[in-house]
């Protein structure tokens, strides 16, 4: 290991618990490995789930050092409960993109073509991506008739990957992740609904300093580079 400040080589092995929104899984796992290589004796354990689940768990005493949320609403829940150890920092953004199955069987070209006779799947208004969908819908003056309003982006994406849906509205990062199975179609109205990801250390954590170091890694240059590699936008 190199570069860890004030690191005691004799210290017992420690585990850093990072609770992060499910959409952050791939970049965070990459960052976690990097963090471990820089901190000898430290293991980074992730708990990925929906942001609201994570908040609930932290409120009930889950051993989280760091919390990264997929939206500000859930981060607010944490701060309202006074469980943030430091002020949350917005560290990345995500925007919507149309996902269609490989080959684009329904011939989708833009947002307006989603109102045609096809199987459209979106997020439910209750979850962050669904709120964003509502915003772009309004901005474009359209009214969608989806066949399903899903619980999470992953559910939307899965319907598209499996070819069940002809089109879905998901995040840019999801299209990247899905690889060849789907094609992405950008649309200008997406800029009306930019989703912000905040991160913070958690009050009462076992490793507050290490946690802050992880937050620093994510918000720092290296972190931003890794995030961008998965399609995330700048904070």
């Amino acid at each position: 290991g190199s570069g860890g400040p004030a690191e005691d080589p004799a210290a017992a092995p420690v585990t850093l618990h990072v609770f992060a929104a499910a959409s952050l899984q791939e970049p965070f796992e990459e960052l976690g490995e990097q963090f471990e290589s820089e901190h000898e004796g430290v293991t980074v354990e992730f708990s990925f789930a929906g942001s609201s689940t994570l908040v609930e768990q932290i409120q009930q005493g889950a051993p989280a050092d760091v919390f990264a949320s997929a939206d500000t609403k859930n981060m607010d829940k944490l701060t309202d409960a006074g469980l943030d150890a430091a002020d949350p920092v917005d560290f990345t953004t995500n925007t919507l993109r149309i996902a269609v199955p490989a080959g684009n069987p329904a011939g989708v070209t833009d947002l307006a073509s989603l109102t045609g006779d096809l199987n459209l799947v979106v997020c439910a208004p209750e979850v962050p991506c669904g709120a964003a969908t509502g915003t772009v819908e309004e901005a474009a003056g359209l009214e969608f008739a989806p066949v399903s309003e899903e619980q999470s982006v992953t559910d939307v994406l899965n319907k598209v990957t499996s070819g069940e849906a002809d089109a879905g509205l998901v995040y840019v990062t999801d299209v990247e992740k899905a690889g060849d199975a789907v094609e992405g179609i950008d649309f200008p109205e997406a800029q009306e609904a930019v989703n912000t990801y905040p991160i913070t250390t958690v009050d009462g954590a076992a490793n507050p300093e290490l946690g802050q170091e992880f937050v620093d890694l994510v918000t720092g240059e290296e972190g931003q580079e890794v995030l961008a590699g998965y399609g995330f936008g700048g904070a």
Binding site: E56, E126, K159, E164
Partner: protein, 256 residues
């Protein structure tokens, strides 16, 4: 007048506590002032209606398909049957989400069967039919397993007597076998109804989530949790009440 050893009260009590305490803890969190408003919202009522309707249909489908399966498993022996039994029970062990994926691979647009149905203009995914399919898939083993056990325990002496009196197999089935295992059939049906009522993972994966069409109560609860946890707790409480009512009703009929 049966006597049971007294010590079983301790583990039995512990077991009851393990189940009852969480339910009590949840009931304590219900905001009673808003309760009525929360559970009578349009979306809640739609979900409740859909849930009851699909679960009842699924329970009926389970009885229709599962009773014959249980009979075959209980009354025929052989190498093959044991494999069939294992296969039939798999939905029990599969995480429902995986079950949903498997259903997609079968009945989805590009699925094993679905691609042929698509040609015929039939689309199952995103329809209420898909919900029923998903619920039946996960609930069927409950009925089969509990009924098979009862059929084995009940034995065949009454069936033999009935055949000796000239009753054809169908009559033996409807007039002797099924009435004799009625308690088990009822509790198996309750089990499968309950499992269908609580089904979440397979439904969301295979059927999607649209109000009035595919968004059942568990999906509604899960969704409300994101925006309105109070509503979610209130709805969970309603689900509990429905379950208690169904179970109590089934038991009343059984002892009657």
């Amino acid at each position: 007048m049966r006597t049971l050893p007294r010590w079983i009260l301790l583990p039995a009590g512990l077991g009851a506590l393990l189940v009852v305490l969480p339910l009590a803890a949840m009931a304590l969190r219900v905001e009673w002032s808003d309760f009525w408003a929360l559970i009578t919202s349009e979306s809640s009522l739609a979900a409740l209606r859909l849930s009851l309707q699909t679960s009842l249909t699924s329970a009926a489908a389970c009885v229709l398909l599962g009773v014959p399966m249980a009979l075959l498993l209980a009354r025929t022996d052989g190498r093959g049957m044991s494999l069939v039994r294992s296969l039939v029970l798999i939905p029990l062990v599969l995480p429902p989400v995986v079950g949903g994926i498997a259903l997609l691979y079968t009945f989805g647009r590009q699925g094993l069967l679905g691609r042929h149905l698509e040609v015929l203009g039939v689309q199952i995914a995103f329809s209420t039919t898909a919900v029923v399919l998903a619920q039946t898939f996960v609930a069927l083993p409950f009925l089969v397993l509990s009924l098979e056990g009862a059929l084995r325990t009940a034995g065949t002496r009454y069936e033999r007597a009935a055949a000796s009196l000239g009753a054809r197999p169908s009559r033996v089935l409807t007039h002797v076998t099924l009435p004799l295992v009625l308690p088990a059939l009822l509790s198996g049906t309750v089990l499968s109804f309950a499992r269908a009522l609580g089904e979440f993972g397979a439904t969301i994966t295979f059927a999607g989530s649209l109000q009035g069409t595919t968004r059942t109560l568990p999906l509604e609860i899960y969704l409300q949790r994101e925006s309105d946890p109070e509503a979610a707790v209130a709805l969970s409480f309603v689900l509990m009440l429905v379950a208690v009512a169904v179970i109590a009703l089934a038991h009343r009929r059984r002892s009657a």
